[in-house]
Symmetry: C2
Subunit: 267 residues, 2 copies
């Protein structure tokens, strides 16, 4: 086993650099992001994503999956650092840190990278601002067997610690693309694909609507919803029952309810 | 219009007392909680919930709903305070505060208070730790026309600022009860009611399962799910497709997917 670098000081430059990855500007400059926890890092490894840097807490319990992770990082020529649980907590910003965290290279998030024929369902988020909602959509996409998540306009960063955490590993299994609306629309119309939105305007009941694969399910910003002209560009607008005072669902919830309905209809 | 009390200092004892309501121990001692935003406070008013204290930001835009709110608080003998946007921001802990916040008395959350015949769907959360998930479940319950949310065992506080915020007003429209498992089970079995859980054990496909009203839909803790013996005490266990690597959905998402399926089957 190669020698591990040990870091003992909070003011160590590597600690500062790792911790800075919690901020978007540093992530964008470094093109790297943080993920934490043995389960998440194991999901990553099994999807062929090996961290460039692995940070281990001293005093951790041995675990065969941790050993497999260390082997994979060594084999890939990555760096392994040991540090105290307190310093690891400082890096991840979590009070009860996991025993392990990893630094990964950000993925290609261009639309051209996506293979739309690879899945029947794709999720689309427009100006979604909450990283937790974004991560939850990734997690739901994984459960649906979706191809991935397409982020339209100014969304939260999918590589933020909060989004990665909420994705429960789906950040590594789902494809992610980022584009503005005209780019997305052009890409979508250059191939097959039905764009569906939850809407109150001229909408069909969501239950048993005429869904078609590949089906792109779009939800909008937490406060404003989807802009009207985007909605009008959809192939299908569907409406879900709203029996109370509220006129909308949480965005990640709406995507899931609609996604499971599409899944049942396409299956 | 009665004279308004004006508060200009951050160290004012009232500011400190209001701000302390963001902490659970203070809420429990005072039996009061904070809610913010004109829309949410208007929902409250229309449900007959008037704040004991209304805090207004100076320099706010006039609004007929705000005036209606002030009238209601005056009529109920409540207190109205004016302060700076900065101080209001300090009270609510939000960077971009709404122009108004209110302090409400906590509701009765005993099981005995619930009228199970009043709705076909009830949501049940077991040891749910995330206040955002809890608030999202309240919001979903409102959309489903559910009667309310029953919190089993050690859940997040429904009166926390985060839960109230995520509920988008449903904290005022949904009934809320808190109980431990034996209490809940005894209450449930003393009347009609089908207890349903999402499960991997001995489970029916969730789609078109034999749901019956009043249907109590239970989801479990974010990490551990529902304890096995609780699951076994359910009348119906259902399973949702999981087509990816993950073996579960976000708790609030699972409740919504299942809730909308139940709604479609009972309607």
């Amino acid at each position: 086993m190669p020698e591990r670098r040990r870091i003992t000081g909070f003011s160590n430059p590597t600690v500062k650099a790792l911790r800075a990855l919690r901020e978007k500007k540093h992530r964008k400059r470094e093109k790297r992001f943080l993920a934490e926890g043995l389960r998440l890092l194991t999901d990553a490894r099994e999807c062929g994503r090996i961290p460039e840097v692995l940070v281990l807490a001293e005093g951790r319990d041995p675990h065969p999956l941790l050993a497999a992770l260390e082997d994979a990082v060594d084999a890939a020529g990555g760096e392994i650092i040991e540090t105290s649980p307190d310093i690891l907590s400082k890096i991840t910003g979590k009070d009860n840190p996991q025993a392990v965290a990893g630094v990964f290279a950000e993925f290609d998030t261009s639309l051209g990278h996506l293979d739309r024929s690879g899945a029947s369902i794709w999720l689309v988020a427009q100006a979604l601002r909450d990283p937790g909602n974004l991560g939850t959509m990734l997690r739901t996409g994984d459960a649906l067997g979706a191809g991935g998540l397409i982020l339209i306009d100014d969304c939260a960063d999918p590589f933020s610690v909060e989004a990665v955490r909420a994705s429960m590993g789906a950040i590594f299994t789902q494809q992610i693309a980022q584009a503005d609306w005209p780019e997305f629309r052009e890409w979508l119309r250059a191939g097959s694909g039905q764009l569906v939105a939850a809407s109150l305007r001229d909408a069909h009941p969501y239950r048993g609507a005429a869904y078609a694969a590949p089906c792109f399910i779009m939800v909008g910003n937490e406060s404003r919803g989807i802009p009207e002209d985007y909605e009008m560009a959809c192939d299908l607008r569907v409406t879900m029952p709203m029996k109370g005072r509220a006129d909308s669902l949480n965005a990640a919830v709406a995507a899931a309810v609609l996604g499971y309905e599409v899944l049942a209809n396409l299956d």
